[in-house]
C-alpha cells in the first residue's frame, strides 16, 4: 500500500500469459477500471482503424507511383458518391458510375485476358501501403505469361464485386481485385485479393470467388500472397472455374506450424 495520495495501479501477476495470445490480457486496473495507459492504447488502435476507413485514398498519388513503374491506370468511381453513402449502400459500391462506364467505353481496347482492379474498400491505408509494391511483383508475372492486360483500374468507393463490371466490360477471363479489408484494431492496413474466373456483373457471387486475405506486415507477405494468387490463376485456367470448387492447396509456413497442444491450465 502506498502512503501518499496517488491511486495504485494494480498490476495483474499473470503478465507472463501474454506470451500465448495477442489478446489484451493482464491489463491491470485502477479500482476496478482500466488504467490510463491501457485505455489510451485502445483509443490509439481505434483511431488508426477509423482513419483507415475514413481518410480518402490518394488516387492521384497511386497513379503517379504506378506510372513511374511504367503501368497505365484508369481511375473510376462507383455509384456510391461519398463515403457515408458507400458505408450504408454496399449495392452502390458494386456498380460503376455513369461517367466511369462512359470512360471505359471510350477507352478503346484490344482483346484482353485479365483485369487487375484496385479498390479502396474499407481501408485506404491498406491500399496506400500494399497495392503498389504488390503490383510491382504481380504485373511482371502476368506479362511473363503473355496475358494481355488493360490499364490497372483504380476504383473509388468500390466493393469486391466492382471487379465483375470491369471484367465484363473487357470480356476478360481473369479478374483480380485488390481491396482494403475491414480494419481490425491490430491490423488497420490489411489488404485482400479476390480472384474470379469469367466474372460477370450481377451473375458472379461470393461462391465464385477465391479470397486471399490478411496481407499486411504482420500477416501474409507479398510473396506468399503472390504464390497463392498464381496458383489460383493456373488452376482456374485448367479447371475453367474459380470459387468454392477451386481449393487453394498452397501451404504457408505460418499455418503449417505444428500447433502446440500444451495448456498450462491442465498439464
Amino acid at each position: 500500500m502506498s502512503n501518499n495520495n496517488e491511486p495504485t495501479i494494480a498490476q495483474d501477476p499473470w503478465l507472463s500469459l501474454k506470451q500465448f495470445t495477442p489478446a489484451r490480457i493482464a491489463l491491470g486496473r485502477v479500482g476496478m477500471s482500466l488504467p490510463t495507459r491501457a485505455c489510451l492504447d485502445f483509443q490509439l488502435a481505434h483511431a488508426l482503424a477509423r482513419d483507415a476507413v475514413n481518410i480518402p485514398l490518394d488516387f492521384a498519388g497511386l497513379e503517379q507511383r504506378l506510372k513511374k513503374e511504367g503501368y497505365q491506370t484508369l481511375t473510376l468511381q462507383t455509384q456510391a458518391e461519398n463515403q457515408t453513402i458507400y458505408l450504408q449502400r454496399p449495392d452502390l459500391g458494386r456498380l460503376l458510375s455513369a461517367s466511369a462506364a462512359a470512360c471505359l467505353r471510350h477507352n478503346a481496347h484490344l482483346p484482353v485476358d485479365a483485369v487487375v482492379v484496385v479498390a479502396d474498400g474499407l481501408s485506404s491505408t491498406a491500399i496506400e501501403h500494399h497495392a503498389e509494391p504488390f503490383l510491382r511483383l504481380l504485373l511482371p508475372e502476368l506479362q511473363q505469361r503473355d496475358y494481355r492486360l488493360p490499364p490497372v483500374c483504380l476504383i473509388k468507393h468500390g466493393r469486391v464485386a466492382i471487379g465483375d463490371a470491369v471484367a465484363e466490360h473487357y470480356s476478360a477471363k481473369l479478374c483480380m481485385v485488390l481491396i482494403g479489408e475491414r480494419p481490425g484494431l491490430s491490423s488497420p492496413d490489411s489488404m485482400g485479393i479476390y480472384f474470379t474466373y469469367q466474372a460477370r456483373s450481377g451473375i458472379s457471387t461470393d461462391a465464385d470467388r477465391n479470397c486471399i486475405s490478411n496481407i499486411h506486415n504482420n500477416g501474409l507477405s507479398y510473396q506468399q500472397a503472390l504464390k497463392k494468387l498464381l496458383f489460383l490463376v493456373n488452376e482456374a485456367e485448367k479447371l475453367q472455374l474459380s470459387g468454392v470448387n477451386l481449393k487453394d492447396e498452397t501451404t504457408d509456413a505460418t499455418a503449417n506450424v505444428q500447433q502446440k497442444q500444451a495448456n498450462f491450465l491442465l498439464d
Binding site: 494494480a10 501477476p13 499473470w14 495470445t21 477500471s33 475491414r182 500444451a262
Partner: protein, 468 residues
C-alpha cells in the same frame, strides 16, 4: 385500413407488413432493403396508424405467408389464446399504456408471455421510447438453469469469450484465466472457433470440460460451431454442455444458415440426453442480430427489427439458457452509428424479455461503424439498468479472432460497482470462496493469484523460460 390523414398529407400503408416497416425508427438496413419511411412525417404517420391496430390483427394478418414459412407456422400454431385473453382487447397503443402501467406486474408479464407474438412485441416497441423499453424490460423476469441460475433479480452474468486467432489451447487458456480472475464467465465460457470443423470443435469442448471439472467452476461451456458440427461432436462422445446456433426470423434466412426447426429440435434432444445440466435443462445458446435476414437476402419485405423479433419465436421454442443479440457486429449498412446500435440493442432486449427469453447483448461495434467506446458505455449502462441478463467479457474489449470490439471484464466490474449487480449465485459463491471477489463482489485490493490457480501459473514460469 392502414390509412391516415396527417399534416395535410394522406398516407395509405396498405399492408401491416409495410406499416410495421414504415413505423420503425430510422436505421440504415431498412433503407438498404428499400422498406424504411421516406420522411419523418411518414414514419410518425405510420406510428399513429400502428397505435390503432388491434393486437388481434396480428393473428389474422401474418407478415410472411403461413404456407411458405415455418417460423410463421410456429408463431401461429403455438399461440396461447388463454394467455392472450388478458390483452386481447388492446390496440398496439393501448398495449404500450398497459405495459407501462402498474397493472403490468412481473407476474402479469410472465403470464401473458405465451400470448404475445413477436410481431406484437415488435409493433409496440416501435412506438416506445428508450426509457419505455428499459422500464418494461426491467419488470420482466426470465430465469434459466443449467449448472447455475441465470437471470435472478439484481444479477448480471457474463459470457467469457476467450477467442484466439488459431484456437491455440494455451492462447485460449490465457484469456480464459484472465477472465476468471476478473470474475467473468457465469453465463457461459463460450469460444468462437477459428475454423468450424469437427476436430477443432471437439478439442475445444474437451479442453473447456476439463477446465470446468478441474477447477470446479459452476458454469457451462459452449463452442460456437454450426449445430451440425456440434451434433457430430455429441455422436463422437464430446462433452457438450450448450448447443449453439445462429438463428433468424424467416425460414429462408434459416435455410441460408443451414438449419430447420427440426434440426434444432434434434440437437436439443441430443444435448438433453447427455444430462449434463446439474440444476436445469436449458441447454441451448442462440445468437441473433438485426439485419441478418436481409444480409441473406431473406427478409421477405420485413423491416429488420420485426425479422429479429420473429427469431425469438424460434429461440423460445427450444427453452434456451441464453439468447444473445450481437447487435453491432453486422456493420453500418444495417446499423449505421452508435445511436442506431443503442436503440436496436434495447429493442431486442425488450422484445426478447417480453417473449420470455433470457436476453443478453453483445454490446459491440466494428471499425467501419460510426461508433466508439462512449457509445458502447451508453448501451452497456442502459442495458444493465434495463435488467439485461448477460454481456460479453472479452479481454480489453478487443476480440482478436473476430476483429470487432465488444465489452471487457472491466466493463462488467464497472456495472457491478455502479448498479450493485451480482453474478449468478453459484458462481458468486465460487468467486468468493477462492478469494477472487470479496464479500461485496469486488476484486481484492491487493491482486494475487488465488491458491486454486497458483500451481498452474508457477509451472508456467519455468515453461515460459523454456520457450525463450
Amino acid at each position: 385500413m392502414y390509412k391516415t390523414r396527417i399534416a395535410d398529407q394522406v398516407y395509405d400503408f396498405k399492408t401491416l407488413r409495410n406499416l410495421m416497416a414504415k413505423a420503425t425508427p430510422a436505421r440504415s438496413g431498412d433503407y438498404l432493403a428499400g422498406v424504411g419511411a421516406a420522411t419523418n412525417l411518414e414514419r410518425v404517420a405510420a406510428q399513429w396508424v400502428l397505435a390503432d391496430v388491434p393486437l388481434k390483427q396480428f393473428l389474422n394478418e401474418v407478415l410472411v405467408p403461413y404456407e411458405q414459412d415455418e417460423v410463421t407456422r410456429l408463431i401461429i400454431d403455438e399461440h396461447d389464446s388463454a394467455a392472450f385473453a388478458a390483452i386481447s382487447h388492446l390496440t398496439v397503443g393501448d398495449f404500450r399504456n398497459w405495459l407501462l402501467s402498474e397493472r403490468a406486474t412481473t407476474e402479469m408479464l410472465t403470464a401473458i408471455t405465451p400470448g404475445v407474438t413477436p410481431e406484437m412485441a415488435a409493433a409496440v416497441s416501435k412506438i416506445m421510447r428508450i426509457q419505455d423499453l428499459i422500464l418494461v424490460a426491467k419488470k420482466c423476469r426470465v430465469i434459466t438453469r443449467f449448472r447455475n441460475t441465470i437471470g435472478l433479480e439484481n444479477r448480471l452474468s457474463t459470457r467469457l469469450q476467450p477467442n484466439h486467432p488459431t484456437d491455440d489451447p494455451a492462447g485460449v487458456a490465457a484469456s480464459l484465466l484472465d477472465g476468471l480472475l476478473y470474475g467473468c464467465g457465469d453465463a457461459v465460457i463460450g469460444i468462437n472457433p477459428a475454423s468450424d470443423n469437427l476436430e477443432a470443435t471437439s478439442r475445444l469442448l474437451h479442453m473447456l470440460h476439463d477446465v470446468i471439472e478441474r477447477y470446479r467452476i459452476p458454469t457451462q461451456s459452449c463452442v460456437l460451431a454450426h449445430v451440425t458440427t456440434t451434433l457430430k461432436a455429441i455422436e463422437q462422445g464430446a462433452p457438450v454442455d450448450l448447443v449453439f446456433q445462429s438463428i433468424a426470423g424467416t425460414q429462408k434466412a434459416n435455410d441460408s444458415f443451414g438449419i430447420t426447426l427440426e434440426l434444432l429440435n434434434e440437437a436439443r434432444l441430443a444435448a438433453l440426453e447427455l444430462g449434463r445440466g446439474a440444476l436445469g435443462d436449458n441447454c441451448m445458446y442462440f445468437e441473433t442480430g438485426q439485419g441478418s435476414a436481409l444480409s441473406a437476402n431473406a427478409h421477405q419485405g420485413l423491416d429488420q427489427q420485426t425479422c429479429e423479433a420473429r427469431a425469438y419465436a424460434v429461440a423460445r421454442k427450444f427453452k434456451p439458457l441464453l439468447v444473445n443479440t450481437v447487435v453491432g457486429f453486422i456493420g453500418p449498412e444495417y446499423l449505421y452509428d452508435g445511436k442506431q446500435i443503442i436503440r436496436a440493442g434495447l429493442e431486442d432486449h425488450f422484445c426478447g424479455k417480453l417473449l420470455g427469453l433470457p436476453m443478453g447483448c453483445d454490446v459491440c461495434y466494428t471499425n467501419h461503424a460510426e461508433a466508439d467506446q462512449d457509445d458502447m458505455d451508453m448501451l452497456l449502462t442502459q442495458f444493465a439498468v434495463a435488467g439485461g441478463t448477460f454481456i460479453m467479457g472479452v479481454p480489453g474489449a478487443d476480440d482478436v479472432m473476430l476483429n470487432y470490439q465488444s465489452t471487457s471484464f472491466h466493463d462488467a466490474l464497472y456495472l457491478r460497482q455502479v448498479l450493485g449487480l451480482r453474478p449468478a449465485p453459484e458462481f458468486e459463491q465460487w468467486l468468493q470462496q477462492h478469494g477472487i471477489f470479496n464479500a461485496v463482489n469486488q476484486l481484492q485490493q491487493q491482486p494475487d493469484v488465488p491458491a486454486l490457480f497458483k500451481p498452474a501459473l508457477q509451472k508456467l514460469i519455468g515453461y515460459g523460460d523454456e520457450q525463450q
